[in-house]
Point group: C2
Chain length 134, copies 2
DNA sequence: CGCGTTACGTACCGATCGGTACGTGGAGAA
DNA sequence: TTCTCCACGTACCGATCGGTACGTAACGCG
């Protein structure tokens, strides 16, 4: 199947509305939501982002920022300075996403996180036969 | 980097809280959110799900359902009948996710969907040089 | 004139994802 | 008996993802 970005308009069937797919695709890449969150307090430089977020490679950060820019969630400001200085900041759209749905997700996880772990353990105990996907 | 499911406890750094990562991982697989949405009205059988959702393969549905079951979001009920009858339904936890964060995401997309598309087109116009990631 | 800093780009690689195609087991229908 | 239905399981495959390693262009500093 083609990537969803090519289907955002041609939603034939799907459940409620395929717009949901377009939205969940924003979370599809591992680090994109994290970068978004890291940008919440204010504009940041690449270095600062890499430091704030632990464990993501330089390349992946670049890709994430490019995607987020392309989606209009993040803006890039480059300053003509000695060592190049580039800052990334949330756009209005980006803020609306972070403060809306992403906050909702965070709140949900905070409330049901333990429940989620319990459920996983329970599942692991009750159906241990199959070779454990993932 | 290891899969996030192995890191849900050992969150060293990350931004706000790594729980967010555990949550976004629930959306990591393409069809999982769609299946969740399809289950919202009530219990469904595999066939019904495949029919309601268009374009996902049999195998992927199975995998999605297994994951969702393993996460405690969906329950499996099998009936001892002539042609095997198996129904899948949202658990309480699943309902809380769908009616909470996922609804928020859906609402956001409904409000900002056009804005998102506009931003994408704008980005495509202003920075056409790189070989178009994705 | 090297050296360090910053923000990238490029090459390559193993793991995973989603897809197609096909097989299986048991019960009812033809 | 053979066919069909249903819910899977298995094998294989191409595309993508994220990671490591390394190169580059421009500038300031000692």
């Amino acid at each position: 199947m083609a990537r969803m970005s090519e289907l955002t308009d041609s939603c034939v069937e799907l459940v409620a509305d395929c717009r949901l797919r377009a939205a969940t695709d924003l979370f599809a890449h591992t680090w994109d939501p994290v970068v978004l969150m890291a940008l919440r307090p204010g504009p940041r430089r690449r270095r600062e982002l890499r430091a704030a977020i632990g464990g993501l490679s330089d390349k992946v950060l670049t890709e994430a920022l490019r995607r987020l820019c392309a989606h209009g969630l993040v803006e890039r400001h480059s300053f003509a300075q000695a060592p190049p200085r580039v800052e990334y900041a949330l756009t209005r759209l980006g803020h609306s996403l972070v403060d809306g749905p992403m906050k909702a997700l965070g709140d949900w996880t905070r409330k049901h996180g333990d429940e989620l772990l319990d459920a996983q353990e329970h599942a692991a105990r009750t159906l241990p036969a199959p070779p454990r996907p993932r």
